[in-house]
């Protein structure tokens, strides 16, 4: 055990020797805007990196995924390493990144420019550091993951690709120690209220769209939620009206229902539908529920060999596992019975804000962790 610990520590030092390549990929990847559905520049960059590393079957597809293949020995299991390329930021936001001695500042770096940059760097690292692997690897930069993308890129690949995967590792920028192996049931929705032009304020009272939305929110909060299975409703954004002095004619709420149970999530979704019908009939406003994204509950058991191997590697690297469910790419793999985990690379701060930053030092450990998990996969493969 101590020998393998020493070995991973040594590997971490060798990963560190590739600092230039890693950080340059991170800077260049981060500075390319990639709002969901507009990941083209990042795909081009990723494929260039794959080409330079000599991967096989390098290609993109009609939804802007970028993939490349590193063959292993005959009969070796096949692993997918996936990172989403999109960010929540718009093209018009400044994507300039600042690299200090200890931290990197820049929008989208944690979610998920760093993960995408690690994906771009891994083929080079595996070859330059002569990492002994007994697996075939598909490197997959996936598009359309966030928000309305609803994991569209990865779903497209899994539904239309001919590749068969024995296991999958999803890479996220943050946090180091992140270990997800189960997916929550989730419904992401958008409720829109619009007050019609001919609205009869005398009949319904002087209330704009915001007050009606407030009513909807209060009613959603009144829906009973069990403590087990864990369930929550997250209100992510609220936008309505344009001024101080005029009643808001429109209001939009974005929310997410999460649960460890498909049944409970479905029940809450159904209750929200009832609430919307009731508010519509009582108020006379136009109100609609648009379902943006959906996930089913599922995942690996704690004892699964892939989960255990991740924990062993983390322990050797003295990384504290942060175990929890996820709604990222992992869900798409698990929904197709492909054992999958999500790993984080470094520690981030103020993720998905304009003041986002990541720590540099943990990155080397985070990458070593991914390489360690790959090295732990043997030719027999792990079955679920």
């Amino acid at each position: 055990m101590s020998k393998s610990k020493e070995s991973l520590s040594e590997l971490e030092q060798r990963v560190r020797s590739c600092q230039d390549i890693l950080l340059a990929n991170m800077v260049m990847m981060s500075e390319m805007p990639a709002p969901t559905f507009h990941e083209e520049d990042r795909v081009r960059f990723l494929l260039d990196r794959f080409r330079e590393a000599g991967l096989d079957f390098i290609s993109d597809d009609e939804v802007n995924n970028g993939i490349g293949f590193l063959p292993g020995p005959d009969g070796a299991p096949t692993v997918a390493i996936a990172a989403h390329l999109d960010t929540v930021f718009d093209v018009t936001d400044s994507h300039a990144l600042s690299l200090g001695n200890e931290r990197i500042h820049g929008i989208g770096i944690g979610d998920n420019s760093l993960g995408a940059a690690v994906l771009a760097s891994l083929p080079h690292l595996i070859q330059a550091l002569e990492i002994p692997l007994n697996v075939n690897i598909w490197f997959m930069g996936v598009s359309r993951s966030l928000g309305r993308g609803n994991l569209g890129g990865l779903r497209f690949l899994l539904d239309n690709g001919t590749q068969k995967f024995d296991q999958a590792i999803c890479i996220e920028g943050a946090p180091l120690g992140r270990l997800n192996f189960s997916s929550l049931a989730m419904m992401r929705g958008e409720i829109e209220i619009a007050v019609p032009d001919q609205y009869d304020f005398s009949k319904f009272g002087v209330m704009g769209a915001i007050v009606h939305m407030n009513d909807v929110i209060n009613r959603i909060l009144e829906i009973p939620r069990p403590s087990r299975p864990q369930t929550s409703v997250v209100f992510g954004s609220l936008h309505g009206g344009n001024s101080f002095h005029e009643l808001a004619r429109t209001c939009t709420l974005r929310f997410e229902v999460r649960s460890e149970s498909d049944e409970v999530a479905g029940m809450i979704e159904s209750r929200i539908g009832d609430i919307i019908e009731e508010v519509r009939s009582r108020s006379g406003v136009e109100i609609s529920l648009n379902k943006i994204a959906h996930r089913s509950h599922g995942g690996l058991r704690f004892e699964h060999p892939l989960v255990q191997s991740c924990q062993d590697v983390m322990q050797e690297l003295e990384v504290e596992p942060k175990i929890g469910p996820s709604m990222s790419e992992l869900a798409a793999f698990i929904a197709r019975d492909i054992p999958a985990v999500t790993l984080g690379i470094s520690n981030g701060h103020l993720i998905n804000t304009k003041d986002e930053e990541m720590e540099i030092e943990p990155i080397y450990k985070g990458i070593t962790q991914v390489l360690g998990v790959l090295m732990s996969m043997n030719a027999e493969g792990d079955s679920q």
């Binding site: 600092q19 230039d20 390549i21 950080l23 340059a24 990929n25 800077v27 260049m28 500075e31 330079e52 018009t92 936001d93 400044s94 300039a96 990144l97 600042s98 690299l99 200090g100 001695n101």
Partner: protein, 323 residues
């Protein structure tokens, strides 16, 4: 007109030089050494990524650059520490050729770099570029590698200015358009073909750099152009379109200082060439005004464009390079 011919033969787009592998092969065939110099003064926010990108892409992946040096005027922030941390050679300008003394200014750093660095070609890239990319070097050195007659390559670009609300698509080059190009139109019409004569990114052969004088302040670029033009002609120049260059916006008052320094250097050169005659000593004080309440206040700013002589005349340099 010669300009049309020159624009066709000596103006490039960086994408013409996408094949860095080929560039390296040609460089090695000619046994050339290339040095990158980044002059700095308090650039801790942008210097790190410049170093990392150039090292990764143009040293580790493709050995196009032989050394990366930061030559600093005395930063009070972490510029030097960050640059060294990411692998650049770092020098305080005052420590280079100490017997020649130290003057504070970007031109001083560029001049001292000729002595400190060893390349046959030196590429100068400013440190305040927020969208740094390998093209800022490959686009400039490629014409020197592929065209032996080319001696001095200037960058040009669209110049979006960074604002708090995002990026504005145009608006850079104000001093160029209202001062430099009109002056060139009057006195050196062929130099008007250089799209951005004041850009801080250029690559030059050592044989040229060591022969020309260096104003230490704002006038260094315009003096270079006039000196190289009068000695080697328009065909010594090439220019490369590097697409966008995102950088800090400068206040109009700061551009006034820049224009004042450039005018001084321009007058010096044109007097030396006998093209204009200034019969009395000109003032070195720039006067700017501001209204404070009901009082109009005058700011007097002393801007003296000192000049370093051609490096070839410096004994320390001659000793180092065996001249």
């Amino acid at each position: 007109m010669k300009i049309d011919q020159w624009l066709k033969s000596n103006s490039f787009h960086h994408s013409n030089f996408w094949d860095v592998k080929q560039l390296v092969a040609d460089k090695e065939k000619q046994n050339l050494k290339i040095s990158l110099c980044i002059p700095t003064l308090n650039e801790e926010k942008t210097i790190g990524k410049e170093i990392v990108i150039f090292r990764s892409e143009l040293m580790t992946r493709y050995p196009l650059i032989d050394e990366i040096a930061v030559v600093d005027s005395g930063s009070t922030d972490k510029t030097m520490e960050v640059a060294a941390n990411f692998g650049a050679d770092t020098y305080f300008s005052g420590d280079i050729l100490p017997e020649e003394g130290f003057k504070r200014g970007k031109g001083e750093n560029l001049w001292k770099a000729i002595h400190q660095l060893n390349g046959d070609i030196i590429v100068y890239v400013d440190a305040d570029i927020t969208n740094i990319h390998p093209r800022f070097v490959t686009g400039l050195v490629a014409p020197l590698i592929y065209q032996p007659e080319t001696k001095y390559v200037k960058a040009f670009y669209e110049r979006p200015l960074a604002f708090s609300q995002g990026i504005r698509p145009s608006g850079g080059g104000r001093v160029t358009e209202i001062l430099t190009r009109p002056l060139f139109s009057l006195f050196f019409p062929e130099l008007t073909a250089l799209m951005q004569p004041l850009s801080g990114e250029y690559a030059v052969r050592r044989e040229v750099l060591e022969e020309i004088a260096f104003p230490i302040g704002y006038g260094v670029e315009i003096s270079h152009l006039i000196d190289v033009y009068t000695r080697w002609g328009l065909n010594a120049f090439a220019q490369t379109d590097l697409d966008k260059r995102v950088h800090r916006n400068q206040a109009t008052r700061d551009l006034g200082k820049m224009a004042f320094g450039i005018l001084q250097s321009f007058l010096n050169r044109t007097q030396q060439l006998g093209m204009v005659e200034v019969k009395s000593e000109v003032s070195k004080i720039l006067r700017q005004f501001q209204v404070n309440g009901e009082i109009i206040e005058q700011n007097e700013i002393s801007i003296i464009e000192e000049e370093r002589p051609p490096m070839k005349t410096i004994q320390g340099y001659r000793d180092k390079f065996g001249l």
